[in-house]
């Protein structure tokens, strides 16, 4: 290597050897320690590096599917922190706590470091050559229809490669699975507005009524919506300060921020929406005939009786919505997790049509012009299809990447047993999680801070201004430093190697995924914002340094076609006396579906509402708890028809007395030292009830009973004794009950 002949990759390599400083504790009488620590020099140093001064590399967050654009702060070859990319229309320079914890996925001590092969009950370390050879061997003679690949939501060039691989294998069995997915929302939106993910404009609305959409915490693209929300709350906005009403049986972070939080009886959100439409009609708003034909049955009295929301409250809500336009009505997980979830969502969508919000606060989105890289979104229903196939012994070779169904499938699906029926299971894994443990071959993955990828978000935010209706974007994910563990590989590299086994010729020009990606990007230079005459190297470097590639997308359109035809909401029935309470699995802003549970920052950052750390809990309304004789810290057993968990009771006024709530994502049996054994896994005890239209698992359809075990603990939480010991008494958490709030100033 000559003096100038180095690239960033070489530089990263060099850093891989260097930078080992041995920290010795020094506490002698001198304050400085000569000759104890090593100060390792660089071998070569690119001109943009100055020791002690950070460089920033643009990349994309991999902690959830929102796809926020980030910048990694890199100092002396180590990534130290992620920051938001200010040029991103998604997150505009901000990040969430979950995203910030991404560095802990990267430096995590429990990452899988070498390929592992199971023989019987034991695992042995093998080489990559042997691992890939083994896959080749198993695939030879296996029919395409006997091969399945399960992944999470995917997009970009890794997805394109996976698509090619599946084609080469002759398999159509790509299952895209997300444990917590807005699948019902997508279907309902598609029906009601013509688009599955329109752009929501909270910032333009004067009032937002959210039926359990936790858009500040865990819903769809929370950092993006938080920014919109900040605008929405500004009194200086031409529309004035917006009013937020949150309707949900269990208070979320968004609920805690709302002007009014309304505890609705679980599952009756659709009824309430129709009741509001009826009240709006009574208040003089003209309701389209087809809707009125359905909604007129939902008189305020009936609605109030079915939903537990007072008549006064319903009328106030209608008055608020009539007075303030445009408004925006959102439907979230809390309203959708039922057998009639799609019906609930459809009823809620009617409100947007009645209120004339479609086209104003619900805008058309745009999609990328390349279908191969457009996002494939995941859902629970695809897991059911995979599970059925496995149960029937249809699949011989199963690959899994980026998902953990053994952890997140309800026990009643018997996924683990069915998974075991496949002859050869390959897990692409960063951790030895539950699914990797059940696999035969484990391929250790690079972290998102070591790997190359492109990402196209499902929720396509756009910058303000002309052309935003056709704005689409692709973002880069690029390595920020040399690998922490040298023997891990990028998912793109593995797929490329597997493809070469099938069809060496087509891919021989690509040495690795990096060269594949680079050439794919350069081939489409013009579509990606370059000019035909641009120098390849310059274009590539500039594109990469920006991290965001704006594309002229295909503009969608939204229409107010939500119709009440076929809408049928069940009349709430009395609870089964043996399981009197409704279980609401809660999705918290930091733990989400539990895929990042081995990042200690997430375990130790207090839940925003209960302030509990490092454990699960069950939220019980103080009234219900008093009836059952439960006090805070009691270890209780929560039992459903399909299973049970034991966890600590937390008395919480922000939950409907008929419901209890346990956060999901806890209770791993594997994965790593920070996740294993912390809390209880509520996924396991869910009943297999599915949304009738989409086939999505109805998360909130499980009924439970609660019994004391006789044990009691002191809950480890941030809040002082006030919230804890007095939660059962009035005046602490709820100072003014929701229906006493004076709304005259808000209207």
């Amino acid at each position: 290597m000559t003096e100038n002949d180095f690239s960033r990759r070489d530089f990263l390599k060099v850093l891989g050897w260097g930078g080992t400083a041995v920290a010795l504790s020094g506490c002698g009488n001198t304050s400085i320690q000569d000759g104890q620590e090593t100060v390792t020099s660089y071998v070569t140093l690119p001109s943009y590096v100055t020791p002690s001064i950070s460089n920033y590399f643009n990349s994309t967050c991999a902690q959830c599917d929102a796809g926020c654009n980030i910048m990694g702060r890199v100092r002396e070859g180590r990534v130290l922190k992620a920051e938001g990319n200010p040029n991103s229309p998604i997150n505009r320079g901000r990040m969430c706590g979950l995203g910030l914890s991404g560095v802990q996925a990267h430096y995590n001590p429990d990452r899988v470091r070498e390929p592992l092969l199971r023989t019987g009950d034991k695992g042995e370390t093998i080489t990559w050559d042997k691992a890939l050879g083994l896959i080749n061997e198993k695939l030879n003679g296996t029919k395409g229809t006997e091969i399945a690949f399960v992944t999470g939501g995917m997009s970009g060039h890794v997805q394109a490669l996976l698509g090619n691989y599946m084609d080469e294998l002759g398999s159509k069995n790509h299952f895209s699975y997300e444990a917590i997915s807005p699948a019902v929302l997508r279907a309902a939106n598609k029906k009601a507005y013509g688009e599955s993910m329109p752009r929501y404009r909270i910032d333009k609305a004067r009032v937002v009524v959210s039926f359990g959409a936790d858009f500040l915490g865990a819903w769809v693209s929370p950092v993006h919506f938080s920014q919109q929300y900040a605008q929405f709350r500004k009194g200086s906005r031409p529309e004035g300060r917006g009013v937020l009403v949150q309707i949900e049986p269990k208070m979320t972070l968004t609920g805690a921020n709302a002007d009014r939080w309304i505890a609705v009886r679980p599952g009756t959100e659709g009824v309430l929406a129709l009741g509001i439409i009826n009240a709006l009609g009574k208040a003089g708003l003209s309701i389209p005939a087809d809707i009125a034909a359905v909604s007129h049955e939902y008189t305020t009295e009936r609605t109030s009786k079915e939903t537990d929301v007072s008549a006064e409250q319903i009328e106030k809500l209608a008055a608020l919505l009539k007075e303030r336009t445009p408004s925006l009505v959102l439907a979230g997980g809390a309203a959708e997790g039922y057998a009639h979830g799609s019906q609930n969502a459809a009823a809620i969508a009617l409100l947007n049509r009645v209120l004339g919000n479609v086209g104003k606060t619900l805008e058309a989105s745009a999609s990328v012009p390349f279908p191969q890289i457009a996002p494939t979104v995941g859902s629970r229903s695809s897991l059911i299809a995979l599970n059925d196939g496995l149960a029937a012994g249809k699949y011989k070779v199963v690959f899994s990447y980026g998902v953990n169904p053994v952890f997140s499938a309800p026990a009643s699906m018997k996924f683990k047993d069915n998974f075991a029926k496949a002859d050869f299971k390959v897990a692409f894994a960063q951790y030895m999680d539950e699914t990797a443990l059940a696999a035969d071959l484990i391929l250790p993955l690079d972290s998102a801070m070591e790997d190359w990828a492109t990402v196209v978000p499902e929720y396509m935010a756009a910058p303000e201004g002309a052309g935003s209706n056709a704005y689409a974007q692709m973002s880069f994910r690029q390595p920020m430093m040399e690998k922490v563990f040298p023997d891990t590989r990028g998912v793109g590299d593995i797929l490329l190697a597997l493809l070469k086994q099938r069809t060496a010729d087509k891919y021989k020009e690509f040495e690795d995924f990096y060269s594949y990606l680079r050439s794919a990007v350069l081939k489409n230079k013009v579509a990606l914002g370059g000019k035909a005459g641009d120098d390849d190297e310059v274009f590539w470097n500039e594109t990469l340094s920006k991290g965001i590639v704006p594309l002229k997308g295909i503009a969608g359109s939204v229409s107010a076609k939500a119709s009440a035809a076929g809408l049928k909401l069940p009349v709430p029935t009395d609870a089964d006396p043996s399981y009197p309470l409704r279980l609401i699995p809660a999705v918290s802003a930091s733990m989400r579906d539990g895929r990042n549970a081995n990042e200690p920052w997430l375990q130790e950052s207090p839940d925003p509402l209960t302030t509990i750390v490092w454990d699960s809990w069950v939220e019980i309304n103080p009234k219900t708890a008093a009836k059952l004789g439960i006090v805070e810290g009691d270890i209780v057993e929560v039992t459903s028809k399909s299973g049970s968990i034991k966890t600590q009771a937390y008395l919480f006024p922000g939950i409907h007395p008929d419901a209890v709530s346990v956060p999901v994502g806890y209770g791993h049996e594997a994965m790593g030292r920070y996740a294993r054994g912390v809390g209880a896994n509520v996924f396991g005890m869910l009943d297999s009830v599915f949304d009738k239209e989409t086939g999505e698992l109805a998360l909130n359809e499980t009924s439970v009973k609660i019994s004391k075990t006789g044990q009691r603990v002191i809950i480890v939480k941030e809040e002082g004794p006030v919230g804890g010991s007095q939660a059962g008494k009035p005046k602490i958490a709820v100072q003014v009950s929701a229906d006493k709030v004076d709304l005259s100033k808000e209207v």
Binding site: V14, T38, T50
Partner: protein, 201 residues
């Protein structure tokens, strides 16, 4: 914790000691007790040959030719091997010397040289090279050997560097108490900051 308290007491003590004596009775710049231990380095780098005066056979290279970050970063920086090779690949006369051979061994293997730190401040001290170089070298136009020498002593005469000054808090403060002219041609004077958080942050 005990260690921390011990060093804290020591530091606070030193600070008061230094502040009370500083302006009138500065500690001598080098006393034998202050000289740090000889630190064995992977290559016995001859500072005197590179930075020494011409009359002593040195080449009078500016410190910042190699420690190039001192003027723009907190750390002065150990030069990348590439820098050494940049010159040495065309200095045939010393190519067969053992130290140079060793240097090329590292270079050929693309392995960094594990130098030992000679001035290793504790982690709770944040010393900034840039501020000092900008002030004394660029604004006040003092000779670099003098400026670097305030803290590093007479490097011109050393092989591998050896600590010359106490580099304790009291010692730092003794200089921060002193009045220095604010620029090369000014009669106005000012002294360095004495705020805790300037160095402890």
């Amino acid at each position: 914790m005990k260690c921390f308290l011990r060093s804290l007491t020591l530091l606070v003590g030193l600070f008061f000691y230094a502040s009370s004596h500083a302006t009138d009775a500065l500690p001598t710049l080098t006393t034998p007790d202050d000289v740090g231990p000889v630190v064995e380095q992977p290559i016995e780098f001859p500072h005197f040959r590179h930075a020494g005066d011409a009359k002593d056979g040195g080449m009078q290279i500016n410190c910042m030719y190699c420690h190039t970050y001192a003027r723009r970063s907190m750390v002065a920086g150990i030069p990348p091997i590439q820098k050494c090779i940049g010159c040495h690949q065309s200095i045939e006369s010393v190519r067969d010397k053992p130290r140079i051979q060793k240097l090329f061994e590292y270079w050929d293997a693309k392995k960094p040289i594990p130098w030992k730190k000679v001035h290793d401040l504790p982690d709770f001290v944040r010393f900034n090279h840039e501020r000092h170089i900008q002030r004394f070298y660029f604004q006040q136009d003092r000779p670099y050997q003098e400026v670097c020498g305030y803290c590093h002593g007479n490097v011109k005469a050393m092989t591998v560097a050896q600590r010359q000054k106490p580099i304790t808090m009291g010692w730092c403060a003794s200089c921060h108490q002193k009045d220095h002219p604010v620029s090369a041609n000014s009669s106005e004077t000012g002294h360095g900051p004495n705020d805790c958080f300037t160095c402890h942050k």
